[in-house]
Amino acid sequence: MTKPVNKFLLKAMLFALPVFILFELLFRLGLAPVVTNSDLFDAKVRHIKQQQIRDVKLMAIGSSITLYELKSDLIKRNFDIPYYNFASWGIQVSDMRVILNDYVNEYHPKYVIMCASIGEFRGPANESYLNYFNTPRFIRNNLPEYFYFKNYNSIHQLVWRKYFEYPINFDQCGGAELIIAPKDISHKKLDSRDVFPTRYTQANYIALDSIAGFLKAKGIKFIFAQAPIKKSYANTQLYQQRLQTHFDKCKQIVEGGSGIYLNYYNPAVFTDSLFVDQYHLQDAGARVFTKEAIKDLKAIIK
C-alpha cells in the first residue's frame, strides 16, 4: 500500500518544489509578499525588520500625522532614549489597538505617544492588520515567505508594488518627510472638509479607551497629542462645537486612563500656510509642531 503512495507523494512534492523555489527567489530579489492590504503598512513592517529594532523606550504610534509630524531628528536630539516611529498611513485608532497589543509586548516601551487628528476617528478598522497580527510572531519574523501563500500574492501585483507604486522612504527611526511644493498642493484637498463624526467614530473612541486602559495596566505612560488642524476646518460654529466635543471626549478618555492629554490645536501658531490639506502639516509646520511637543514632553519623559 505505502509504495504507490510514496511514489505519488514524491512526484507531487517534486512538482510543487519549483513553485516554492520561485517564491523564495522572489523574496531574495526583494519582491516582498503582501502582508496587509496597505502597501504603506507593509513598507513599515519591512523597515522595522531591516532596522532590526530591538529596544524601544519611546514608541510613537499613529497614522500619517504621527509619521510626518513627529520629526525623528528633533526627538533624538532632545531625548536620550531608544525611539522608533511605528506610525503608518491611514491607520485608525481601532487599528492602533491591535497593533499596540503586539508591539508593546515585543518592544516593551516606557512611553507611547500618539499624535492624532480627527482622521484617525473617522473610519472602520482594517481587518487585514488583525489578520497579520494573528499570524504567529515566529512566522512573521522568520518566515515572511508564508504570506505569499496566505494572502495569495499574484506575481504581477508584487512586481507592480515594487516598481510602479508610490516610493516610500523612512528615516532611521521610522519617520518620514512630507514636502509638497506649493504648486502641487491640491486645493480641492486643502479646502475640503471631511464629515465628522462618522458612524465609526464611537468605535474609535472605545478603542482609545481600551488603549489607555491597556497601557495603564502595563505601566506604560500614554501621551496623546492632538495635532493641529487647519483653521478653515472649523470656520462654522457647528464645526467648532464638534471639534471641541471631540477634544473633550479624547481628553476625558486619555486622562481617565491616567494618560497625558496635550492639545496643539492652535490656528494662531499653526497658520494655514503650514498645511498641505486639512490635517497634514508641511515639513516646516511639522518641525514647529515637534518643537512645541518637545517642550511638553521634556516634563514627562525622564
Binding site: K7, Y146, I155
Partner: protein, 470 residues
C-alpha cells in the same frame, strides 16, 4: 476553511498522510478519520452548527433503520414524513424564515438568523437517503460511522455535489486501496478547478461586483460586460469548486458525482439543465419532477408543463430566499414550454459536432444565459428590471474605465483558454485529462503553464465561493 486557503492545504496534507499511512489498513478507522476530519472542517467555520449537523445525522440514521425494519406501510410513511419535516423544517427556518416574514408583513421585520453552511446540500443528502430506503432502492447503512461520514463528507459538504447514498455509501463500506492514476487525475482536476476559480472567477468578480454595486452610475456598456463576465464567473466559480471537491475525493479514493458537463456547449435550455449543477437537477428530477409528471399525466402536455414549472421554481427557491431566485427558476421553467408543446423535450438535437449550426446554437444559448443570470445576480427584481431597462439606452455605446486592467486582461485570456480546452476535451470528465499527450515534457509544460498563470494573475482578493451561500 476555504479550499483555496493555506490552512486547508495544511489540513488536507495531514489528513492525507494519516488516511493513507496510519489508518490505511483499517476501514473503520479510515471512516472515523473521514468523519472527524469532516466535523473539524465544518466546525472551523462555526462549531455551533456542528450540533445541527450531528443531530440531523442521528435522527436520519435512526429513521432510516426504522423505515427499513417496519413492514407497515403507514408507519414507514410516517417515519419518512418525520425525516422530511425535520430536514425541510430546518431548511425553511434557517434559509427562508426571514423571507416569508418580510414577504407576509411587507415591511422590514427579521430575526437574526445565520444560515448554517452547506445546509441545503447535506439536507438533500439525508432526504434522498430516507426516500431511497422508503422506496427500497437501497438498504440503510448498518454502521453509523458510514452514514455520518456520508452526510458530512467534507470534500462535498459545503457546496456539493449532492451525492446520492447509492453512490457514496457503498464506497464508504468497501475497503479502499490507493490508486495512483485516480489520485493523479484528482490533482489535475484540482489544478483545473483552481485555475477556473482563482484566475477566472475571482478576477471577473472584482469587475462584476463593482459594476453591480454602482450600475446606476455606470453606462450600459459596462453593465453588459458585467453580465457577460458574471455568467462566466458563476460557472468558473461553481464548477471550479466542484472540480476541487471531486479531485480531493479522488485523492482519498472516492468517486463522487459529476456536477457539470460543459454547460456552455449546450444546444438549448433543456440541454443546458442536463449539464448544469447535475447533482441538484437530477435530484429534483428523481424526487420531484418524476412523481409530479406521473401525478399530472392525465393532463397531457399541460400537466408536463406544470410539473416542469414547479420543478424549476423549486430549483430557484433552493438557491435562496429571494424573489430573484424564484423568478429565475420560474423563467427557466417557462423556457421549457416550447419544447413541451413541440414534444421535443427529451429529444437530443442531431447536429454535427463542430458544425456552424452547433456554434450558432451555443452562442444563442449563451446569450440567453447572460440575460437570465442577470436576475440571479440582481439583489432584487426591481434592480434586475432597472438593469434591463438600462441596456436599451444610448449609453450602451459609451466607453467606461476599467481599474484593474491587468487582471481583466488576464481573465479574458483565461476565459479563452478555458473555452478552448473544454471544447477540445468535451468528451472527458474534465479539461485536464490529457493522458493522450504522449510526450511527458509537453504535459508538464501544460501543467506548469497553468500553475504560472495562477501565480502571476490570481485576483488580488480571493472571494468566497458563490455557492457557499446556498
Amino acid at each position: 476553511m476555504l479550499f483555496t486557503s493555506v490552512i486547508f492545504a495544511c489540513f488536507f496534507t495531514v489528513f492525507f498522510l494519516l488516511y493513507w499511512y496510519v489508518f490505511s489498513g483499517n476501514l473503520r478507522l479510515q471512516n472515523l478519520l473521514v468523519l472527524a476530519g469532516s466535523y473539524l472542517f465544518y466546525a472551523w467555520w462555526d462549531w455551533r452548527f456542528l450540533f445541527l449537523l450531528i443531530g440531523s445525522s442521528i435522527l436520519n440514521y435512526l429513521l432510516g433503520i426504522g423505515i427499513h425494519k417496519t413492514k407497515n406501510e403507514k408507519y414507514r410513511s410516517l417515519l419518512l414524513w418525520i425525516g422530511l419535516v425535520q430536514g425541510l423544517g430546518c431548511l425553511l427556518f434557517f434559509k427562508y424564515f426571514n423571507f416569508f416574514l418580510q414577504s407576509l408583513t411587507g415591511e422590514f421585520a427579521a430575526l437574526h438568523i445565520i444560515l448554517p453552511l452547506g445546509i441545503s446540500f447535506y439536507t438533500f443528502r439525508t432526504l434522498s437517503y430516507l426516500l431511497d430506503i422508503k422506496y427500497r432502492k437501497i438498504e440503510p447503512a448498518s454502521d453509523w460511522v458510514v452514514f455520518f461520514s456520508y452526510v458530512a463528507f467534507f470534500p462535498s459538504l459545503i457546496s456539493g455535489p449532492i451525492d446520492r447514498p447509492g453512490l457514496l455509501i457503498p464506497q464508504l463500506q468497501n475497503k479502499r486501496a490507493f490508486n495512483p492514476e485516480q489520485a493523479t487525475d484528482g490533482l489535475r482536476q484540482i489544478l483545473w478547478g483552481l485555475f477556473k476559480k482563482i484566475v477566472i472567477a475571482d478576477n471577473c468578480a472584482t469587475f462584476t461586483n463593482d459594476v453591480f454595486a454602482h450600475y446606476h452610475t455606470l453606462p450600459a456598456s459596462a453593465l453588459l460586460l458585467a453580465m457577460f463576465l458574471f455568467t462566466i464567473q458563476i460557472y468558473a466559480d461553481f464548477s471550479g469548486y466542484s472540480d476541487i471537491a471531486i479531485g480531493l475525493a479522488s485523492l482519498l479514493g472516492f468517486q463522487i458525482t459529476r456536477n457539470f458537463n460543459y454547460p456552455f456547449f449546450a444546444q438549448n435550455i433543456a440541454d443546458f439543465w442536463r449539464r448544469w449543477h447535475i447533482s441538484l437537477t437530477s435530484w429534483l428530477t428523481d424526487y420531484v419532477f418524476t412523481p409530479l409528471s406521473v401525478y399530472f399525466r392525465d393532463y397531457g402536455k399541460s400537466g408536463l408543463a406544470l410539473a416542469i414549472l414547479i420543478n424549476f421554481t423549486l430549483i430557484g427557491i433552493w438557491h435562496g430566499a429571494n424573489w430573484t431566485f424564484i423568478f429565475f427558476g420560474f423563467l427557466n421553467g417557462c423556457l421549457f414550454i416550447p419544447f413541451v408543446i413541440r414534444g421535443t423535450l427529451n429529444k437530443k438535437k442531431k447536429v454535427q459536432p463542430g458544425s456552424f449550426r452547433t456554434f450558432v446554437n451555443m452562442a444563442g444559448m449563451f446569450l440567453l444565459l447572460i440575460f437570465t443570470f442577470l436576475i440571479f445576480r440582481a439583489d432584487s427584481l426591481d434592480m434586475a428590471l432597472e438593469c434591463y431597462r438600462k441596456l436599451f439606452s444610448a449609453s450602451l455605446f459609451s466607453a467606461f474605465p476599467i481599474t484593474e486592467k491587468v487582471n481583466m486582461a488576464a481573465a479574458l485570456v483565461a476565459i479563452i483558454i478555458m473555452f478552448w480546452a473544454e471544447w477540445k476535451q468535451r468528451d472527458k470528465q474534465h479539461a485536464l485529462q490529457i493522458e493522450f499527450v504522449q510526450k511527458r515534457p509537453v504535459r508538464m509544460l501544460i501543467y506548469y503553464g497553468l500553475v504560472c498563470f495562477i501565480l502571476v494573475f490570481s485576483a488580488t482578493n480571493i472571494i468566497d465561493f458563490v455557492y457557499f451561500k446556498f
